[in-house]
């Protein structure tokens, strides 16, 4: 066999690693979830009860699914105005000026800050503030965790939107100005329709990030295994219940945590695939 063939086989062989890792992940998660699935079946998904006390064990993921969606959707709703504004500042209003540079550097810095540090800041700076303005007694809960999460996902929501907004041709904006449009009308009627799918995709990807964020949320959400009753209620997310209870779990408890991991894996994979599909198809 000549060396070119060998090289090709090596390249191809390495690519199999991706299949092995991804396939192995799915396999191990499914296999690890089976003991829990055998006991609770599909009810696992709709039962809000989570009781790890020996002898009285019962596990259902609904509280965490609800907690995750609640927190992430709230985070996304807070993040969108922040992200959309920074995108407009960087890619439209102050495009190519020093101020755009400052703003985008700051957003880059935000992306580099580790999750656990966001958690600390939320705990020591944001939480006391929330308590002091009387929004909540202890300051823990969906609201606090969601706010910090929102800040964390801003960089994911902006990086793609920025370049998409920049790509809207200048000629189209000029055409709109020449028809008498104000800047707001140009943004609304020309920039947004042209950049819509790319912006949507980046918000979907940011949402996917929010679903799986662990440390900061664990430190702020209050870790109560209950269905969240409202924005200021405590709760728990799928990721944070795994982080919290994994150390002491065994048997069906462990398997139930793995099943939650499987759910999280599937949900984030679907969300990310949707985002990537939109980018490929429309942007």
């Amino acid at each position: 066999m000549n060396s070119d063939k060998i090289t090709k086989y090596i390249l191809f062989g390495a690519s199999l690693l991706i299949l092995v890792v991804a396939g192995g992940m799915l396999y191990s998660l499914v296999e690890g979830s089976l003991p829990s699935f055998r006991v609770f079946g599909w009810k696992f998904l709709v039962s809000p009860e989570w009781n790890p006390t020996q002898g009285d064990q019962h596990f259902g993921a609904l509280a965490f699914i609800a907690g995750t969606l609640f927190t992430s959707i709230f985070a996304l709703l807070v993040a969108i105005p922040l992200a959309f504004s920074t995108s407009l500042i960087v890619a439209e209003y102050f495009r190519k000026t020093w101020f755009a540079n400052v703003v985008s550097t700051c957003v880059d810095l935000l992306a580099g800050i580790p999750s656990v540090i966001f958690g600390l800041w939320g705990f020591y700076a944001l939480r006391p503030f929330i308590v002091s303005i009387g929004l909540s007694h202890q300051g823990f809960g969906i609201f606090t965790a969601g706010l910090v999460l929102a800040i964390m996902i801003v960089p994911y929501a902006t990086s793609l939107s920025n370049s998409i907004i920049m790509m809207v041709p200048n000629e189209l904006k000029e055409a709109a100005y020449s028809l008498g449009a104000t800047r707001l009308e140009v943004i609304w009627n020309v920039i947004l329709p042209n950049a819509r799918s790319g912006i949507t995709a980046s918000y979907i990807l940011a949402f996917g990030r929010a679903l799986g964020e662990t440390m900061a949320v664990t430190m702020l959400i209050g870790n109560a295994n209950i269905l969240p009753k409202g924005l200021f209620s405590t709760g728990n997310t799928m990721a944070s219940v795994i982080a919290n209870e994994f150390g002491e779990a065994s048997g069906v408890h462990l398997s139930s945590l793995i099943e939650i991991g499987l759910l999280l894996f599937v949900i984030t994979a679907i969300i990310n695939a949707t985002g990537k599909y939109i980018i490929k198809k429309f942007a």
């Binding site: 991804a22 998660l29 810095l109 656990v116 540090i117």
Partner: protein, 302 residues
């Protein structure tokens, strides 16, 4: 044209309120500017908090001693001194974990990236690329969970450096694959074709042409991947747990700077060490970020 319609149209245009519209436009701009300023001031707030609260604990012993036990910390707090000890076990652990993860992820990532670049149009390569993208989006806690099942349970029979490194490597892999493919795309195809035309063996084309001419792109990608996993905490909780002393044994648990931060956070006596450790960690991550941007910028100027 029917002049009555024309008249009507002109009347309609005249009734659009110029003042209201330009006011709305300016109002919108103010709101956008306000939100952007909020975003950047949060960044300054976070970094400022770390610097202000963390800098006075950073001294020589911070880098040369392991983390104190909670009793020593309590005594120091009671007498108003700074907490003794440092985060040496965390720093060495982080270096070991990230180093080993790089050893695993960089070669595989680059080779797979080259494969995708070379077979860009193949269906199979498209599938690999998509799966790699999906892997990139897998939450880090789930990666930790899986590596727990693979390595902690089956291989090292306990929390270990190896398990932590495998988890970090899985997270680095998609980033390196993507950046390798992107930087290979920047290499002019004529360069490669010239080498092939000379009858150069394929592996030499890769080693002598493709990799050297995309080198700064590869470095940038690797640095970004490293900076992305440097602060990871959740997967390490499930794979390496932590260690109160310095450890170089790959089959044994090890500490890491983010794990120490988590540990300090859970111990009321250690509060003061949280900030210095966080400042150190963030400084390190940002340094890598800046370095990679700098290399990328330097390259693009040439």
């Amino acid at each position: 044209m029917d002049s009555s319609i024309l008249q009507k149209r002109k009347a309609m245009i005249a009734t659009t309120h110029f003042g209201v519209r330009s006011f709305k436009s300016r109002l919108f701009f103010s709101i956008v500017l306000l939100f952007a300023l909020i975003t950047i001031s949060i960044v300054f707030l976070i970094i400022g908090t770390l610097v202000v609260k963390g800098y006075h604990q950073i001294n020589w012993s911070f880098f040369t001693q392991v983390a104190p036990d909670t009793f020593d910390a309590m005594m120091a707090n009671a007498s108003g001194k700074i907490i003794p000890g440092g985060i040496l076990n965390g720093i060495t652990g982080t270096l070991l974990l990230v180093g080993l993860a790089s050893v695993i992820a960089i070669p595989f990532g680059i080779v797979i990236g080259i494969y995708l670049y070379e077979n860009a149009t193949k269906r199979y390569a498209g599938v690999i690329r998509d799966i790699s993208d999906v892997l990139q989006g897998v939450p880090s806690i789930v990666v930790g969970l899986i590596v727990y099942l693979w390595v902690v349970v089956d291989i090292t029979k306990g929390y270990s450096v190896l398990a932590g490194s495998v988890a970090l490597a899985i997270m680095m892999l998609p980033l390196i694959i993507r950046s390798t493919e992107e930087s290979m795309k920047m290499v002019p195809t004529t360069l490669k074709e010239a080498a092939i035309a000379l009858g150069t063996p394929y592996y030499k084309v890769i080693l002598r042409v493709l990799i050297p001419s995309s080198f700064s792109g590869l470095i940038t990608g690797v640095l970004l991947a490293v900076s992305r996993v440097l602060g990871e905490t959740a997967p390490l909780l499930l794979t390496t747990l932590g260690n109160s002393s310095v450890n170089w044994n790959l089959a044994k648990p090890v500490s890491a700077v983010p794990l120490l931060i988590w540990q300090f956070y859970n111990d009321p006596n250690m509060v003061n060490l949280i900030w210095s450790s966080s400042l150190f960690l963030m400084g390190f991550v940002l340094l890598l970020n800046i370095l990679s941007k700098w290399i990328a910028a330097k390259k693009s100027i040439q």
